[in-house]
Amino acid sequence: MSPEGGNGTAPVLEVVDLVKHYPIAHSRAFVAAVNGVSFTIGKGETLGLVGESGSGKSTVARCVLNLTALTRGRILFDGRDISRLGAAEARALRRRIQLVFQEPFDSLNPRMTIGSAIAEPLVVRKVEKAERRRRVAELRDLVHLPESVLDLYPHEISGGLQQRVGIARAIATNPTLLVLDEPTSALDPRARRQIIDLLIELQRELEMSYLFITHDLNTLRHISHRIAVMYLGLIVEEGPTQAIFEEQRHPYTRALLSSVLYPDPETRRARFELRGEIPSPIDLPLGCYLASRCPLVVDECRAGIPPLLAIGDGRTSACIRHELVPNAREAETAA
């Protein structure tokens, strides 16, 4: 992992050995949602966090947003540990780390006009009225919303416009970091593209950092500078987006990327499929969590959880046989 941010300055966000376990009622067991995750995001940089259901990517987001207490680990924001803040400090911090939701309509009050919705975060911050009006106009301009929508209600505008409102609300308090949890999954292709272009433009203008969570690899490839791939609460591979798309150094990443369906009939590619089912996060195996499904598995894989190690070119992999991954063949049966 690179200790520096994207442009050589100190990272905006540094997550160190994050663990989050959820206890199960009337039992000593727990759901091991996140099992030791570390990453950094530099100023003006986008880290794409990708993984399937149960990978723990949304739990990581909740921890970064201070919406849930960590089991272990630290989260540094601008160099300061924010994982154990008091209520007042946490509230002050919320201004600087903001969230954009997946369902723009569900995140808006149906009885509040668009204009009031954009002004609301400023009302909460006790910004006075004249300044508020000026700022709403500025935000409307930044997210390219026509003035005519300010008096409308959420149900009267399209999903794409609703998401622009969601973004305007998120950036109202000049945050340094935006956490985007599947912000375009509910949108049609053209609206999705426009929102992604808007996010890229805003990042350039406002120098924000993004933690972008999605399962849409096609979109992730377009917006992320780096990607981190999660499986069962661990990052298994991390590095520059282009390099990872070109060659994967972890069997899970390879399986994931070989499932991406590109809009081009000439590039139908050979699938690299993992056998069997994902283990339960309540009863995780010893050693590498992928061992039961992996075609490259050897005894050593089951000895302990392989650490995420640097493999050159700014990349990391948690596979002890990472150099064999690009040419590995699928297993005939589960190991």
């Binding site: 399962h215 809009p263 009939p265 139908r268």
Partner: protein, 303 residues
């Protein structure tokens, strides 16, 4: 269609939709959801129907199956399944056909499955109704079908209830249910959009191989152009209840012609696709005809 192509095409399409109009008669006025849709799916082929929200994709599926919810109604046109117009059949005749000759695969499998019956029972019920199997044979057919959709340990899993299955498993059960009577045509409506990518790829691979094995034709409704490029033979682009372009998949992705198709494909792939710079909306001038620009590649003229 060109004369040469008409001669080459089989006499009977698996499914032929002609000039289909469906309207919703709401209190606020009449909403035209489909404005003269025509499509043809050849036996054993897969047609991808793409369009965005509100294009009329689901209404088309419902219109073909004749299950448009009120206040909607098919007002004109035909949907012909191997020579028989579904719009002209009696309710009884139609009930015998649904599931047996034509089946639908829907998203959200949990809503589709009965939570109170084991998946084996539900599959067996379909087998008994459509294949007239007796109880034991239907049960065997159900287990066999679960094995075909690659549910591990199908004999034991047949006793599982829907809530005990993962999303991917439940979706496979819904596919098994749609295919158990080996229908000659299946319509799948955004059936894999809620699944994880690796599971989606597995489910699609599986569906495709089962359809091939059964020689079944399929209408695959989706907003995912990646699915169309990877699994379909032909594609039709639906926009506001009208088909704007229809073509062989290779021809479409190599050179989309309609400005709307170009915009859609460029947006989806995050790079410019197609030759023309896309002009602005609206794309649905009513009077314009479909014109053949390459063999089998039809595009609605642009004003």
């Amino acid at each position: 269609m060109s004369a040469a192509e008409a001669a080459a095409a089989p006499a009977t399409a698996a499914l032929e939709v002609d000039d289909l109009h469906t309207c919703f008669f709401t209190a606020a006025g009449v909403v035209k959801a489909l404005n003269g849709v025509s499509l043809r799916v050849e036996p054993g082929r897969m047609l991808g129907l793409v369009g965005e929200s509100g294009a009329g994709k689901t209404t088309l599926a419902h219109s073909i199956m004749r299950v448009v919810p009120p206040p909607g109604r098919v007002v004109r046109g035909s949907t012909v399944l191997f020579g028989r117009d579904l719009q002209k059949l009696s309710e009884d005749e139609l009930r015998n056909l649904r599931g047996k000759e034509i089946a639908m695969i829907v998203p959200n499998p949990r809503a589709e499955l009965n939570p109170l019956l084991s998946i084996g029972e539900q599959l067996a019920n379909v087998a008994r109704a459509h294949l007239r199997l007796e109880k034991r044979a239907a049960r065997e057919r159900a287990v066999e079908m679960l094995a075909q959709v690659k549910i591990p340990d199908p004999k034991r899993r047949a006793d599982a209830y829907p809530h005990e299955l993962s999303g991917g498993m439940a979706q496979r059960v819904v596919i098994a249910m749609a295919l158990i009577a080996e229908p000659r045509v299946t319509i799948s409506d955004d059936a894999t959009s809620g699944l994880d990518v690796t599971v989606q790829a597995q489910v699609l691979d599986l569906t495709l191989s089962l359809l091939r094995d059964h020689g079944s034709a399929s209408l695959m409704i989706t907003r995912d152009l990646g699915i169309v490029a990877n699994y379909c033979d032909h594609v039709a682009v639906l926009y506001r209840g009208r088909v704007l372009e229809s073509a062989d998949v290779r021809s479409f992705f190599a050179s989309p012609r309609h400005p709307y198709s170009i915009e859609l494909l460029s947006a989806f792939s995050y790079e410019p696709r197609g030759e023309a710079a896309a002009p602005s909306l609206p794309y649905d001038a009513e009077e314009l005809e479909m014109r053949e620009v390459a063999p089998g590649h039809l595009v609605r003229d642009v004003a």
